[in-house]
Symmetry: C2
Subunit: 434 residues, 2 copies
């Protein structure tokens, strides 16, 4: 890691989200082993790299993941009705036979709202990498993130892909992790291992987030690799299911981007029997994948633009998991809750207010509602609890703030993640392009 | 107006919203006459006042409107499932015979999440004023705004209501307008006159807004008075209809409060024939009322917490008015659009992105979408227009920024209002209670 990238890489952040989730010895006992220093290259047969091709002024802006053998790949995409050109091209790639050799990612330019030219450029990016790797075009996915509405500087991409050929031996996965960032302040990565059919199976992940982050799939870029052998339909199922419990439960600013995508590649090099819901160890694989998805999701929330804190909202006592999730998103997405946490103000009225305006919540008995800030109860059955304000302020000064809400109207629960709203969110976004 | 209130009253703001709406000679020609210095006391038979009773440290916090004769009154209330005690009591009052003599308003304490004691306190506030005015309890409405979850300091309210009796001659409607404010930086008022059945009819209004403002009725406090004679059912109809086109089309921060309410009182002293949709001049009355509602709504948006600019989003070419409204709210509510406007950055990609994630929008042809910043077109049929960045930046430096979106998918349109997101929003809300 070069010195001039210190500004975007802060090693002290590593692992915060995970430790906070309480994944420690118990998980290893359950057969899962977490590697906080793991990457998308931790599974067998993947290499990754990145470089600066000139879309951005100085930082890395072109990255790639390459699998030795074709990998079955599942994808989830933004729900925004305006989808960037690379999403269309990648969907088309995956429709052919559902497998990929490689992914090419650029940051600094979203290639969104760029019309026919943008689509041609995305096809051309795909062609360039396919030609260089000597694979079929449909075995390459393209992914972009950055400013909307500017044509991709194809000369720079072209030079970058050529340079990649020479640099592929020197650059590492750390360069890939840097190349996908925009206003992120740190890279986000993890790997989890488990044993399936006596074979060591590894799942690795990398992500970028920061702004335009709202829980409505797919709200950021996520890349997950595994050497497990998995049936394509099961891979799709697993990614969709776990995305709903992780990436779709975070919010930074309520803005769902035009470009977001999560790709899950499985190349089968671990040599386990092909996984599907019928496999006796399907749940082990799902648990490992869930760890990766949730860890990346929380790291994205924690690194939201201008964030100083990770906020976790656990809602229980709901009539359905969907309602619990909606209430959680409402609280963690409230600008007033976010600024109160930033200002370490235990102003629980804003939490209660955000519960009450959750549009998915059709009925609510305010007299059953209870709220806690960490272990400090602030509302008991709809009524204020007299609590120690200093203690509550101290609690909110922590980097990981948990809010618990009990609706007492059912038996379902859900956890959502977000971040506080600080001056820096305004600073970053009032002058993003300049 | 006393000197030490200069901080909350800035006379230079007066009329901005209205002038911007282009209501000038044409409206007067149409029989409407706008009085920018008008108040809720401009119609015949109303008096209003306010004072400092001690809920807030220094500023006015108790206000009232009193009609000489009972006034038919329509009300709209927050959609938040958690509704403050005064809302319950006011609804109960209006259910008896739909008419009021008076409204008592306090700021500084919302009387929300205060359980049975809060409800008793709201009834007690109603009783106090009814007794003092020697009217029935159900002829009084109570309204509160401020911090959630703290019991109302009833000794202060009681002393305030007693003091009111002595002060009622000295205080004026300016004191009322100040007494209803929280983090507002200016009072908001207007009056509009028209002639109905040869009688001069006046409609006056006052409002407070600032935070917890989101278009989902009723997102602030609004008080509208008229001396028109109006049938109760028609009054309800008019208020609901026009609220949907005004107060429900503004957003500051997406937070819908527990306390918000708009009351429309009609005391009949203008002596016109009773208005209803069958009356030949019903539309004149509606037009005048619409002016009042929209002007107050825009003033609330312009004075959103930390706002430096009013943002108006006009959406046309939608398949329905509901969709046009939803797209407008999505754009004007986007944190990224709001910060871009604050930073005078013509980053139209964020506008397009917000159009695309409007959940009510089921289909969209990105290739038909056009966007303008004022008169500067930035997107034409889905493609970027090469525009003069400096000119666009200059445009965004204005205090009233208009964004036009044409979906080209239908013939319906709607206009929504909001404000930019500045450092001051964070400052105000990170330390509201301290």
């Amino acid at each position: 890691m070069s010195t001039d990238d210190k500004d975007i890489l802060d090693s002290t952040d590593t692992g915060i989200a995970l430790q906070d989730a309480g994944h420690t010895e118990q998980d290893i006992k359950d057969g899962l082993s977490i590697n906080l220093d793991g990457h998308v290259t931790s599974p067998l047969g993947y290499k990754a790299g990145g470089l600066h091709c000139g879309i951005k002024r100085k930082r890395h802006d072109l990255g790639w993941i390459i699998s030795e053998v074709p990998a079955f790949t599942a994808g989830v995409y933004t729900t925004n009705l305006i989808q960037a050109a690379p999403l269309q091209v990648t969907k088309e790639s995956l429709q052919v036979d559902g497998s990929l050799y490689a992914v090419l990612v650029n940051s600094g330019n979203a290639n969104a709202c760029t019309g026919m030219q943008g689509l041609e450029d995305a096809y051309e990016m795909r062609r360039m990498l396919a030609e260089q790797l000597e694979v079929e075009k449909h075995q390459v996915a393209v992914v972009s993130t950055g400013v909307i509405g500017e044509l991709m500087p194809m000369d720079k991409i072209s030079a970058g892909v050529k340079e990649m050929k020479e640099q592929v031996a020197q650059t590492t996965v750390l360069d890939f992790e840097k190349a996908i960032l925009t206003t992120d302040t740190c890279t986000k990565h993890i790997a989890v291992e488990c044993v399936i059919d006596g074979c060591k199976v590894t799942i690795g992940g990398a992500a970028k987030g920061s702004g335009m982050i709202h829980p409505n799939m797919a709200t950021m870029l996520g890349f997950i690799t595994t050497d497990a052998t998995v049936e394509p339909a099961a891979l799709d199922l697993a990614l969709k299911h776990l995305t709903n419990k992780s990436f779709n439960r975070i919010t930074v600013d309520g803005d769902t981007s035009t470009n977001d995508m999560v790709l899950l590649m499985a190349n089968g090099l671990a040599k386990n029997d092909s996984l599907s819901p019928q496999h006796p160890q399907w749940d082990t694989f799902l648990a490992a994948l869930e760890l990766v998805c949730k860890d990346l999701a929380k790291k994205i929330a924690r690194d939201g633009e201008g964030a100083t804190k990770l906020i976790e909202v656990q809602v229980k006592g709901a009539e359905s998991e969907q309602i619990a999730e909606a209430v959680g998103k409402s609280v963690v997405g409230s600008s007033l809750v976010k600024t109160a946490v930033y200002g370490t103000d235990p102003n629980w009225g804003r939490i209660v207010c955000a519960v009450g305006y959750t549009s998915e919540l059709k009925s609510l008995d305010p007299n059953l509602l209870s709220v806690w800030l960490g272990e400090i109860q602030v509302v008991d059955n709809g009524l204020p609890v007299s609590f120690n304000e200093e203690e509550a302020t101290l609690y909110l000064e922590q980097e990981n703030v948990k809010i618990y809400v009990d609706l007492q109207m059912g038996s379902h629960e859900a956890t959502c993640w977000g971040c506080d709203l600080s001056y820096d969110y305004v600073r970053i976004n009032a002058s993003y392009r300049t």
